[in-house]
């Protein structure tokens, strides 16, 4: 008995020791800069995580092939740590903590969806680690959090864009909304849309306001209710995987009218999953890949050549967000080997960036750390490409 206890004690000691060693080893070498990525590599929206990772890898190769990032006259290699948040809120918090405590990163890119970015933003803010969410559009992500930034526009801006565009394009007087109740992004945008639409067209003009759960596959009851209310179009602020099911089922139920979507539609995978049913629909997004010019075109061409498909908005936004961090590191003038001091320096430099030219357009930052930038509305054409329809600037 005593010997067993001794053995157990010894093993525990060894394990703790091993963990501590691993923890210390995580600090990285002298001349590398470690940046964490909190992205959904599995779960509901794996294509989003993949796009983020690919864009980041491309940027890392660019910088490292030049010998590294030059900060204060010295070159530092980049090291990116990809942590999977499984597209879940609780895993995003754990991933953020792991990146902060174990990997000792100086800044975090991601999470992408507001569902994960809102809770993970709180974690990063409390631990005083700069975080940039590429894709999150919910206001709560950065609200009153000096350490959290983003590269995307906000839903209070996107909502009116959708309202105005649909009013003009479909000549619509009434609208219906179908959204995901357990997704902060979808719910927030649906509510903003409803209040904006009713402000413009009078109360009661959102004739159906229906919700569903994240894991739902059957939407026939909600859609039957929506179709019975006879709206001029249906607004679906939902992730691309559910959009594919919703639109197909609506057509099965005899719906022939148009749909309007939001930026979560804009994944490279939307057309593979949705096929013909999605053609001709519109959605608001961060950039239009078809017909891009300048730096944006260079980025799109390189990405398409390297990975075999046109980069979606998440890829472009991750590219911008990561470049923002790198620029902040450079602007801070020197790289401090003390992680805490470096984090503070990056945050201060990020807060000091007033204007930035990204592949998703020029952005200016306001006091909350939110960019002021243009949104575009794209149409899905018969080849399944996202074609520019309209650009709306604040």
């Amino acid at each position: 008995m005593k010997r067993n206890l001794f053995k157990i004690g010894l093993t525990t000691l060894l394990m703790v020791g091993a963990f501590m060693l691993a923890g210390c080893g995580g600090g990285g070498g002298e001349d590398t800069i470690k940046i964490g990525f909190n992205i959904p590599l599995t779960g509901d929206i794996p294509k989003v995580g993949e796009a983020s990772k690919y864009a980041a890898e491309m940027l890392k190769e660019d910088v490292n092939s030049q010998g590294g990032l030059e900060v204060g006259g010295k070159k530092y290699k980049l090291e990116f740590v990809y942590e999977d948040n499984e597209s879940k809120a609780e895993s995003a918090v754990n991933a953020a903590l792991k990146l902060i405590e174990q990997d000792q990163v100086v800044a975090i890119i991601g999470p992408n969806s507001s569902k994960q970015a809102v809770p993970a933003g709180g974690t990063c803010n409390d631990n005083r680690v700069p975080m940039i969410s590429p894709w999150s559009t919910n206001p709560d992500t950065t609200k009153d959090r000096p350490w959290v930034f983003r590269a995307a526009f906000l839903d209070p801006f996107q909502g009116p864009v959708a309202v105005n565009f649909a009013t003009k394009q479909f000549d619509a007087k009434t609208a219906a909304v179908l959204f995901d109740i357990s997704n902060d992004y979808s719910k927030g945008l649906a509510e903003i849309f409803q209040s904006e639409w009713e402000k413009k067209h009078g109360s009661g003009t959102v004739v159906a306001f229906e919700s569903h759960g994240t894991k739902d596959q059957d939407f026939s009851a909600q859609l039957t209710k929506i179709i019975a209310a006879k709206p001029d179009f249906i607004f679906v602020p939902d992730n691309y995987n559910q959009v594919a099911l919703i639109i197909k089922q609506a057509h099965d139920l005899g719906w022939k009218g148009p749909f309007m979507g939001s930026d979560a539609w804009g994944s490279a995978e939307l057309m593979t999953l949705c096929g013909d049913d999605c053609k001709g629909q519109f959605f608001s997004t961060h950039y239009a890949a078809a017909g891009a010019k300048g730096d944006t075109k260079v980025f799109i061409d390189r990405y398409s050549k390297k990975y075999g498909y046109t980069p979606d908005d998440v890829a472009a936004l991750t590219w911008d967000a990561t470049r923002l961090v790198l620029q902040a590191i450079q602007e801070s003038g020197s790289y401090d080997s003390d992680v805490r001091k470096e984090r503070q320096a990056i945050r201060d430099a990020l807060g000091g960036i007033k204007e930035f030219a990204g592949v998703t357009g020029n952005m200016k930052f306001d006091a909350q750390g939110d960019p002021i930038k243009c949104a575009v509305v794209v149409r899905i054409d018969d080849q399944g490409q996202f074609v520019f329809a309209e650009s709306v600037c604040p």
Binding site: G213, A221, I227, A228, A244, E269
Partner: protein
């Protein structure tokens, strides 16, 4: 009024899937008194097998047969392969435990683990990205007034009724069905009567998993986006449906599945859709509260 008819058709289709999956739970429970929690995931594997069969074997990347032929050959092939998965699971996970005389509780936990292994094995094997199931039949939408039905929906509902008919016939009218029912009564006396218990159990898994494969294929045709966790939630709900119907009874699973489908759809039709699961499961709770053995269940007294 038309919306009501439309919702009845919606509920028939949605209930069909619950019924098809619940039948698998109830079959295994009826024989082994084992809650096969991996059944929802066998359904998921069935959908993936259907995908593999109709894309890589018979479809565009294989023999390139026309859609109707893929459907005609794909259904039996999917059912056979999925039955193989179910039998393998029984062979490597449940039978060894049964041989060692493990308590049923441990077998149930094993079933839960098998489900997770299937989910995560699939995730590791095929990755997290979703698969798009090809369209195997020309879609026709029949519209009468404002009520729309597709040929696929009719096929699904028909399949659910047919499967129920077949299973009910096998269990109540054939010798092997009699043996299945007998095992659940007394698994110690049955071998003494010269009935090969293991073969009967394998047969039960073949039936249950085969029809889970059919359900997977029909589901993939109706909701053509596949992901590794698609079986978890619907499996749980179908299990609850089977319990409400009276687990172990074929009619119970069938009625329970449709009951859950109808409640879910009709709750959304008359209440805010946010309340769906809350109201649906409250109703089921009330049913169980009044009749704890389920609608068709019979109280059974067991010596432990």
């Amino acid at each position: 009024m038309e919306a009501l008819f439309q919702n009845i058709i919606n509920a028939l289709q949605w209930g069909s899937f619950y019924a098809l999956i619940a039948l698998g739970y109830t079959l295994v429970y009826g024989v082994l008194l084992l809650i096969n929690f991996a059944h929802g995931d066998i359904f998921m594997v069935g959908a993936y097998i259907a995908f593999g069969v109709s894309v890589f074997v018979l479809g565009v990347q294989g023999l390139n047969l026309p859609g109707w032929a893929v459907l005609a050959l794909g259904v039996p092939l999917t059912m056979i392969l999925t039955a193989g998965v179910g039998v393998t699971l029984e062979r490597i996970a449940y039978r060894p435990l049964r041989r060692k005389g493990a308590h049923r509780l441990y077998v149930v936990i094993t079933a839960l683990m098998c489900g997770l292994i299937l989910e995560n094995g699939n995730l590791a094997l095929l990755g997290a990205s979703r698969k798009k199931f090809p369209e195997l039949m020309e879609k026709t939408v029949w519209t009468l007034g404002n009520v729309s039905v597709t040929n696929l929906k009719v096929l699904v509902i028909f399949a659910a009724f047919a499967v129920f008919g077949i299973l009910n016939f096998i269990v109540t009218r054939t010798r092997i069905g009699m043996a299945m029912r007998a095992i659940s009564y007394d698994k110690f006396a049955i071998p003494l009567m010269g009935i090969p218990v293991d073969n009967i159990i394998v047969f039960t898994f073949v039936l249950g998993s085969g029809f889970a494969g059919l359900a997977g294929m029909l589901f993939a045709m109706s909701y053509p986006i596949l992901e590794p966790y698609m079986g978890a939630l619907i499996g749980w709900k179908a299990f609850i449906a089977a319990v409400v119907g009276g687990i172990g009874d074929i009619r119970g699973a069938f009625v329970g599945g449709f009951l859950l489908g109808f409640i879910e759809i009709l709750v959304v039709a008359f209440f805010p859709s946010t309340l769906r699961d809350l109201i649906a499961f409250s109703i089921l709770l009330v049913i169980l509260w009044m009749k704890p053995t389920g609608l068709f269940g019979v109280a059974r007294h067991q010596k432990i």
